[in-house]
């Protein structure tokens, strides 16, 4: 833990725990000894700039390498490979309600311990379960294993209960409908709002505030889902949408006929372009942007850039909000520009809009790779504390342990980032063969996105190799 976790956006948990948990401080020092992330690759003397440059070279080189793979049938053989897994409808009928009941129970304990538990972050059940167990650990399973959120979602059970009560009380109760032209933009706004809240408020270190946020989110979710039905989880609730998006990367997939299948990771992305709804592409781009933003605000460069602006009298919260929105707009703009350029490089009449939707799934492995790089060390470091507190939420041990990660762990993080990009190149390559006839047009269609991806890899590696600096003024 230590620097790794802090950079991941869970800085508050580490910040507040600094005085209380000596073990964590030791872990932090161990990480500091191994130098910056770049320094821990293979040998201590590889400078950061070279690590960043190498990342760009690997991504560009992977593209050149995939251009050698032009056998469309063989590519489909890899991408469409699947093994049907036995599923039991009966087991499902029992297991899903049980899971939902358990997760609702955990939600109640989170609120209770958040409101009344110890305020030491590494002893507080709510903080550990939400940030370590759920946002770091559980999220990882959604792209490494499969999206189980529809079965686990703790707000499903209360929603069902309230709906039933409503139907009994009112004969003419019916679902509301969200305007079609909103598409999934509500979820985009919700995702940006959640990340803003996480960055600028002490919700990561203050269990009382966390409990209030969880309660508020629960009330809004249940109210929305009662009013609008499943459309709420599909188009508004950012949490469900994040897991659904990550779940497309995973090896376990629901097939068209509803059966459970095992696939190669990422290959499910080559089958569906995004649905034709407003905001679908924007949500994927937003998911990518928030990972970058979360890391960016914890760099010394950010601190140095923000301080003069705030000293001029500009409110700090405004600076954070403007950069969040401007960065999102810039990411979306660059993606759209690249899509428009594909029309020329691939010499095609396919609209830029269709190209955007077609290739957007290829961004998901990148987002998943960053998530893993950010949170794997954080999760492993705090997992012992989570385990200890989970056993007795109301009487946690005084000195929970933390796992000290070895110095080479920094290279694992770099590999996660690069792995995501390389998988993205394969997915985009496969998708291009499905969209454009022949081989050359498909290969040429990738030029704009490869250029963007090389720069994006390098800037993201720059962010994660920066030393941690707490975001100022918040």
């Amino acid at each position: 833990m230590g620097r790794d976790g802090q950079r991941a956006g869970w800085r508050p948990l580490a910040r507040a725990g600094a005085t209380a948990v000596v073990v964590l401080a030791l872990a932090g020092r161990a990480a500091a000894h191994s130098g910056s992330l770049g320094g821990s690759v293979a040998s201590a003397s590889v400078p950061t700039w070279l690590v960043i440059l190498t990342g760009g070279i690997v991504v560009g080189g992977s593209f050149l390498f995939t251009t050698l793979l032009t056998d469309h049938e063989a590519m489909r053989g890899v991408n469409w490979w699947r093994v049907a897994l036995p599923t039991s409808a009966q087991l499902r009928r029992v297991a899903v309600p049980a899971l939902r009941a358990v997760s609702f129970g955990v939600l109640l304990i989170v609120v209770a311990t958040g409101l009344a538990g110890p305020t030491t972050p590494t002893q507080n059940f709510a903080l550990l379960v939400v940030w370590v167990g759920w946002w770091a650990g559980y999220t990882t399973t959604t792209y490494l294993v499969g999206n189980t959120w529809p079965a686990v979602n703790p707000w499903r059970a209360p929603t069902r209960f309230v709906r039933r009560a409503r139907d009994r009380l009112f004969d003419d109760a019916s679902d509301g409908a969200l305007p079609d032209r909103w598409g999934v933009w509500p979820a985009v706004a919700g995702l940006l709002a959640l990340v803003f809240l996480e960055v600028v408020s002490p919700v990561g270190e203050n269990p009382r505030l966390l409990a209030v946020v969880v309660l508020g989110y629960s009330l809004a979710t249940v109210a929305g889902a009662v009013r609008y039905g499943d459309a709420w989880f599909d188009r508004v609730d950012p949490v469900s949408r994040v897991f659904a998006a990550y779940g497309r990367v995973a090896p376990l997939q629901r097939d068209f006929d509803g059966s459970l299948t095992l696939r190669l990771p990422g290959t499910a992305l080559t089958e569906d372009p995004l649905p034709d709804r407003p905001g679908e592409v924007a949500f994927v781009v937003a998911l990518l942007w928030v990972t970058t933003y979360d890391g960016l605000v914890a760099t010394p460069t950010w601190a140095a850039a923000v301080e003069p602006v705030v000293s001029l009298g500009v409110p700090a919260l405004l600076v954070y909000a403007v950069v969040l929105l401007a960065g999102f707009a810039a990411f979306l703009g660059v993606y759209r520009l690249a899509a428009r350029n594909v029309r020329d490089t691939a010499d095609t009449y396919v609209t830029a809009r269709a190209i955007e939707r077609w290739f957007a799934p290829a961004l998901l492995p990148i987002a998943a790779g960053y998530h893993l790089a950010h949170f794997l060390g954080y999760f492993l470091g705090l997992a012992p504390a989570l385990g200890a507190v989970a056993i007795s939420p109301f009487a946690p041990p005084a000195n929970p342990m933390a796992l000290v990660l070895p110095g080479w762990f920094g290279s694992v993080k770099l590999l996660c980032v690069l792995g995501g990009h390389v998988l993205a190149i394969w997915v985009a390559h496969s998708l291009s063969f499905e969209l454009f006839p022949g081989v050359l047009a498909a290969i040429r269609s990738q030029y704009p996105s490869v250029v963007v991806m090389v720069f994006y890899t390098m800037s993201s590696l720059w962010v994660i190799t920066q030393p941690y600096a707490p975001p100022p003024f918040v």
Partner: protein, 98 residues
């Protein structure tokens, strides 16, 4: 193998700029193309071509093959150069380059 290919809806997902004459159009799904070459490949890949169309498809494939060979030659050279440059760069930076 069942067909899992994602599908394009040509009418909605393609657009021809105003004033531009479409060079070729797929006789089966109406998708417009900027060249006969693209259309011939598309018909052969995606539809059940007639004998004449199959012949044009094979010809287009042949044309692709030549161009692709040249492209691949360039790609392999570029990969080799990038690899060598990276190795030299690392040796220079790490100080083991004599």
């Amino acid at each position: 193998m069942t067909d899992h290919a994602p599908t394009l809806r040509p009418v909605r997902d393609t657009a021809v700029p105003d004033g531009e004459r479409v060079a070729a159009r797929c006789p089966y799904c109406e998708r417009p193309f900027r060249s006969d070459h693209g259309r011939d490949l598309h018909v052969g890949e995606r539809h059940d071509p007639t004998d004449a169309e199959r012949e044009r498809y094979e010809a287009a494939l042949e044309e692709e093959r030549d161009e692709l060979w040249l492209f691949h030659a360039k790609a392999v050279v570029a990969l080799g150069v990038i690899y060598a440059a990276t190795v030299i760069l690392y040796m220079a930076v790490l100080g083991t380059f004599f």
